[in-house]
């Protein structure tokens, strides 16, 4: 695997920091509010990044550490922050995330929270500490680590067994989550979906604006996870130590099925078959019909797809799953790149025609694009630099997307969603082919020299 061009520097990052992942996770938990322990900047930047992607207000409080607390410890600020968050937002859960600063000055947030609770006997607010040093790993790990911490927080000693299936949903859009819920309904099985951002990060317009958006995974759902029948974790490339499913399996024996996101025919097949296997139920006719329709569509477009040579990049999971969608449709994944460490990427995807890169930055990706010349870019908005300079069409997917609208509505999972997304890819290729093709063929083929070429 190739790494960065620069050894001591990341130029144009293809990754974000842990508390960003932590924030994305908490945003899918019902009635929760985030308090970032650190200086003001981190919270503001992270809010801004999320707000432009989801087009939703994203409130994240900060303990706003300044010079003084950085030297003498920020426990007073954090406690004060918790009080103010309760006053302003009245949440059921407060997720306290650390930042680089808090970690570096050695803040023990768990202890501080305990002190706070001892002094203020509050029972109606759960305060969940999660350690997310920005330098520890990327937002990808931060996301799953936070979900794991939330599940651990609510874990009981002896869980009540139930028939539900836990779904750990990484890298999905609100529309994707809604699609998974629909599939659950078709199967008539209860999902514990976490984090459920289907409403919280894709809100509707209502007369009454509520500061903490409605929806999200409920505490009851989280509590029932340890007694569930199985866990499906849509995070194939994740290291075990961050894995929520691994925790549930090791501690409670909840069987873990780790798999890629249900994107593409094979990706979706795996997901559907696994549910059928876990529940012992037969696959709903509707899903079968959707699958047949997808296959039909894939046949329709296979010849056009063969001309695709794509750069696919972003978070490890979405990158891998889309790479698979491309492969099964004859689109060459020319460059496959992620900024996270995700060493497993190479293990799951390896092809002589593809350059696979992890822990990489956009400076390096860009130089490889110049060398290998893909005709299609698939990934988040951060590829816009390459799009702008190389004039190659960019299909936006993943996080963050802030130069296009509708990222929260983008559907890429499921048979129907995958097919819609594939159509977008195919149509982009068709446009490339059709644009100026009369002129191109005239220039290429018409014998302007009067037979000189073969003379």
């Amino acid at each position: 695997m190739k790494n960065k061009n620069y050894t001591n520097m990341n130029v144009n990052p293809c990754k974000m920091c842990m508390p960003m992942g932590g924030s994305l996770a908490f945003k899918g938990i019902e009635n929760s509010m985030i308090l970032m322990h650190g200086s003001q900047g981190c919270a503001t930047y992270i809010r801004r990044h999320m707000a432009t992607h989801y087009n939703e207000p994203v409130d994240i409080a900060s303990s706003s550490l300044s010079e003084n607390q950085t030297v003498h410890g920020g426990s007073k600020n954090l406690k004060h922050g918790i009080k103010n968050v309760i006053k302003l937002y009245n949440p059921k859960i407060i997720g306290v995330l650390t930042t680089c600063l808090a970690e570096t000055i050695g803040e023990d947030i768990k202890r501080i929270i305990d002190e706070f609770k001892n002094k203020h006997p509050i029972t109606e607010v759960d305060i969940i500490p999660v350690s997310t040093p920005g330098y520890g790993a990327t937002h990808y790990e931060g996301f799953f680590h936070t979900i794991r911490s939330i599940i651990e927080y609510y874990a009981v000693d002896i869980p009540e067994k139930n028939e539900k299936i836990n779904i750990i949903a990484g890298d999905l859009t609100p529309a994707d989550i809604r699609e998974l819920k629909r599939i659950g309904k078709l199967f008539d099985v209860d999902f514990n979906l976490i984090p459920d951002i289907s409403d919280t990060l894709d809100g509707s317009f209502q007369e009454d604006y509520s500061k903490i958006p409605k929806g999200g995974t409920t505490i009851d759902q989280i509590k029932s996870m340890s007694g569930a029948k199985a866990t499906i974790e849509l995070a194939l490339l994740l290291e075990d130590k961050y894995s929520p499913g691994m925790f549930l399996e090791e501690k409670y024996g909840v069987k873990l099925y780790k798999m890629a996101m249900p994107i593409g025919l094979q990706g979706m097949d795996e997901f559907v078959k696994t549910i059928a296997m876990i529940t012992g139920k037969s696959i709903p006719e509707e899903l079968k019909a959707e699958r047949e329709r997808m296959l039909d569509g894939m046949i329709d477009s296979h010849k056009y797809n063969a001309e695709g040579k794509a750069l696919i990049y972003g978070n490890p999971e979405i990158t891998y799953s889309i790479t698979r969608l491309c492969s099964e449709n004859g689109i060459t994944p020319l460059i496959v790149a992620t900024g996270a460490r995700a060493k497993a990427l190479n293990r799951y995807f390896n092809s002589a025609d593809s350059l696979v890169m992890n822990d990489v930055d956009f400076e390096t990706i860009h130089s490889e694009v110049k060398r290998l010349k893909p005709n299609l870019l698939i990934g988040n908005s951060d590829g816009k630099f390459i799009w702008e300079k190389e004039n190659i069409p960019l299909i936006r997917v993943g996080f963050p997307v802030h130069d296009h609208i509708g990222a929260q509505r983008k559907l890429v999972v499921g048979y129907t969603g995958s097919m819609g997304f594939l159509d977008e890819i195919t149509n982009t290729l068709l446009d490339l082919k059709h644009k100026g093709y009369r002129q191109r063929l005239y220039d290429e083929l018409y014998d302007k020299s009067g037979g000189e070429k073969y003379a």
Partner: protein, 455 residues
Amino acid sequence: MKSEKSFALDERKEHILINKSGSNAIKCDQNSVSGAVSQRACVYCGARVVLNPITDAVHIVHGPIGCASYTWDIRGSLSSGSENFRNSFSTDLQEKDIIFGGEKKLELAIAEIVEKVNPKTVFVYSTCVVGVIGDDIEAVCKEAEKKYSIKVIPVQSSGFAGSKKDGYKAACNAIISLMDSGSKMADIKDKRSFNYLGEFNLAGEIWILGRYFNALGLKLITGMTGDSSTEKLKKAKDASFNIVQCAGSSIYLAEQMKEKYQIDYERVSFFGIDDTSESLRKLAGLSKDEKVMEKAEAFINLMIEETRGILKDYKNRCKGKKVAIYVGGGFKAISLIKQFNELGMETVMVGTQTGRKEEYEKIKELSNEGTVILDDTNPSELESFIKEKGADLLVGGVKERPLAYKLGIAFIDHNHERKHPLCGYEGAVNFAKEVDITVNSPVWDLVRGGGLDEK
């Protein structure tokens, strides 16, 4: 503890003012309140705002990845030359660097950049963590400067060490150090030559004004820092006078230049017809050149007539609407109030992130009785005052946009990311157009319609 919801915290009360004659001064210039979801960023953000537009410089963010990732190419400054500044260089500090220090890594990073990019100037920004682990970036920069004979300037911008304003100051000091390294100040100065401080060439704004300056026979040496370069900044001392637009960020620089190089300055604003005309007149006066002054009068009259003609239509469509403003600096708020007056609209709420006392005084003077004035506000306060005052439109940054839309009101982007110029006469028209587009959009009729319940 009682968890009763309220929109305002006690400790925020003095930061809120309802305007009436003889009312007290507002409390400003303080650290943000912990847990209150301030809309502010950090010292680093402030420093980056000012230095970022220096086009041929390499900006290295010395710290963990997030700070660099969230600020990569997010500002709309344009360049007529190099695009170095659009890249985001980060030392991407890891856990081991936090423990053992990041100086060595920084040193090697600078070496790599010199080898690969060979810039004339490198800025090294310190972030929160670097401030805590005690890397001596001054020493590293000094060493590098000697070794490579280029300017390597440290910017002390640890996020916690103050507010955005301290970042502005750090940036101004960096610019001074760059100017100092240039050749000796010219003995004889052209009295029509000047610099334009607090201008960042967002969406090409300095190019609009540059055309005016040329038409008047004035000589702009450089924007500070819009569309500037190492060479241009080194020549800045040769100016006969300076004009300052964004005072919050650049008044300190103007003061320093006055002290060091005896260059006087005047404050200007090129937002709105009145401010633009007045500023051009002032500028012509500063040249002490009769011909320039004459030309200016003719030019101004012509432009006013033309612009008023175009604006009439917009005014008819927009007048009577109510406006809420929440922007970064006080100067921006002031010119916005005036511009809305030009359109016959009333400002019912004004807030700034980092406004100064004098600016708040001016705001009080310009606004009607009952207008709400806010310092460093948060989403809760914004929401309740927007509702209470019945605003039809919010002016703010990207983070505020989704809030406005959720509340069902129009929105204007007035931030560093915008893609359309708002200054000068052309800008005044663009502004009116944007107000009209959003305030009079058909979508609000649907929002206010009865929905499916309507008979």
